[in-house]
Subunit: 381 residues, 2 copies
């Protein structure tokens, strides 16, 4: 999932209005036919709000047509967490029940994950202001704040499990795979008969087993992706410095939209093609005076190719160890375009279910929050 900590330490004011993206429910909703057991909301039904509390973004969704994503650099702004959560909760005035999942406990402002979980749960408790609140664990259970506090490692890094449990209904039978590509990370979750069958439970073990690839379409420094990039017929090493990220690559390649209001980039300048160009130049210690659009594109293509190749290699190993190759892959997140390119590169022939197409881009980009809200509304099986 997107989340976790990183550099970019300049303080930003919490919750700038312009950075909200609210789902407009534009997705073609085929879900009702697929979710025969999903209760129809009524005047009497409980109204849930799910929060996915990451280290770089906090996402909220109500399991219907509402979803928002708020950039939130936990590692520098954790003292504002209560305010941010309160503001998000207030966006859904009728929400009387809150469900939470998290990855923000890995932010490097916390000495341990348990300390991070405790901090986040305490903030949530204050922000919830007496509302009924449940926390999602990696065993699929929703428990009280107190119960979650007692088992922090089950509450930690739990959002992938909520997404997988939800996405499983698109692959009810046989072997499937969920591939969620976000700003920071890529989750690969094998399914059997709709249930997640991962080997790893912690992030570390999920990384070792190829189920979590800590690389994404925005925050990832380009120097983590490859060593050499093309430069006018030569190969130039990349500076080992966070001068540019994969966001700049995908802005340059028109795979991600420009967003002048977002400045959580490598140099704190806007997320536009123009500044992405400058950042990619800096990655080889050049500047715009000696670096053309063609230079930027050549470097961006090489970097995208290297990232695709890297993920494809891991997914190939993961698929090889499954009892059966997946007949369906559910893709989600703002990096769906990368997921498609990876599946093609890995020559994995499956049908693809796109949550962006199923739910619309806003709900898909808040996939775990949306998934959790749906699961919470349905209640225990």
């Amino acid at each position: 999932m997107s989340g976790y900590a990183g550099r970019s330490k300049k303080s930003i004011s919490p919750l700038p209005a312009k950075s909200w993206s609210v789902a407009s429910g534009r997705g073609r909703r085929r879900a009702p036919a697929r979710f025969p057991n999903q209760p129809r909301p009524t005047a009497f039904s409980m109204k849930w709000l799910a929060l996915d509390i990451g280290g770089a973004n906090i996402k909220a969704a109500d399991g219907e047509q509402f979803a928002v994503s708020q950039p939130f650099p936990m590692w520098e702004d954790s003292r504002h967490l209560v305010d941010v959560l309160r503001t998000l909760i207030a966006l859904v005035p009728r929400a009387t029940h809150i469900a939470a999942t998290m990855t923000g406990e890995l932010a490097d402002c916390f000495s341990t994950k348990a300390q991070g979980v405790e901090f986040i749960l305490n903030a949530l408790n204050v922000a919830a202001d007496g509302r009924h609140t449940r926390v999602y664990l990696t065993n699929g259970r929703l428990v009280s704040l107190q119960a979650a506090l007692r088992q922090p490692l089950l509450a930690s890094a739990s959002n992938w499990h909520a997404l997988a449990s939800f996405a499983g209904r698109y692959v009810a039978d046989g072997s499937g795979l969920v591939m969620d590509v976000g700003s920071t990370t890529c989750d690969l979750i094998p399914l059997v008969d709709g249930q997640p069958v991962t080997i790893g439970k912690t992030d570390t073990n999920r990384m070792i087993n190829g189920e979590l690839i800590y690389t994404g379409v925005q925050r990832t420094p380009v120097c983590a992706i490859t060593q050499l990039v093309p430069w006018r017929g030569r190969k130039c090493p990349l500076a080992h410095e966070v001068f540019a990220t994969m966001w700049d690559v995908y802005l340059t390649l028109d795979a991600l939209p420009e967003d002048p209001s977002r400045k959580d980039t490598a140099d704190r300048r806007p997320a536009t093609k123009e500044f992405a160009h400058d950042r990619l130049a800096r990655a080889i210690c050049a500047d715009r005076e000696v670096f053309t659009d063609a230079d930027a594109r050549a470097i961006a293509e090489a970097l995208a190719d290297a990232q695709i190749k890297k993920i494809a290699s891991i997914i190939t190993q993961l698929v090889a160890r499954l009892q059966q190759p997946p007949h369906t892959v559910v893709i989600s997140g703002q990096g769906e375009f990368l997921a498609r390119a990876v599946l093609e590169r890995a020559k994995i022939k499956t049908s693809i279910v796109s949550l962006t197409r199923e739910l619309g881009p806003e709900l898909s980009s808040c996939g775990p929050a949306h998934a959790l809200a749906v699961l919470a509304k349905e209640g225990p099986k």
Copy 2:
């Protein structure tokens, strides 16, 4: 040289007294025998102060026994540059002449290098407060501020050339090499008869030609160094995130000293072994509860080994293209230990001159500033 920009965006107050390290002149000075032409300071001689204005550190030296290094994150604090330069200049009250070299123009707060050079020269002009001021160019000339402003690309990234010109006197005849390893970068400068004979002039071309390796012993993110590290009999991918840097590696391996006053680390916590341990744990998404000292050491050894191997491969190519293999390598910077390991790995059999031994660790770690002060005092040849 050390320098340039990066993340770590939390503001620090400029010039905390505790972070100064002032040379105490402990080095065994064999220099007089080697520098027969160096004028002896007299009451009538001009007193020079040289400034090496980097993007992460600013260094000052008087070419005698004085040298200081001041962490200065140009990319976030550039508005304080005048104050920092003024304070440094005031440390040598008798200095009436100033010489400057720079790399800070690459900081990502500047749109272009020329803009960065102009900004730095303007700050220098104000801080110099009427003192006679000269700027070092990559052609080896010292020129006025006005002349430097007219040729910013010669003033840009010039500090390596000053060091090489100075170090050349330790390799007066035949083929030699300077290897300066700093916090951020590693300079490799071939010499013939004491003069630098680099192919690249700009940073980009120096990187392409293996003369600048943008990797160092402190700031370099570990995820730029390698993909997999050992973890209890398995291989674990590193998170593509700046959770830890090579500083943590060399703290763990006791190659760099602890410094609790320095907090310009990946997580803004002190540069101690204890916190380095936490940061290395985070690099594989673990925490101290599941990560032992032995785990930290295993990962640190693998990362150091990967960095040594990477630099050794580049130096091998560089040496292969020289007309003669270097009979002497002059090593300098706080990463001399890494330079020695690289030369051993690359099986380069030469005599080694250590500037740390020649000048003492403080002057060596401010090598380009010390070199420039010496060159300036000597005046044009």
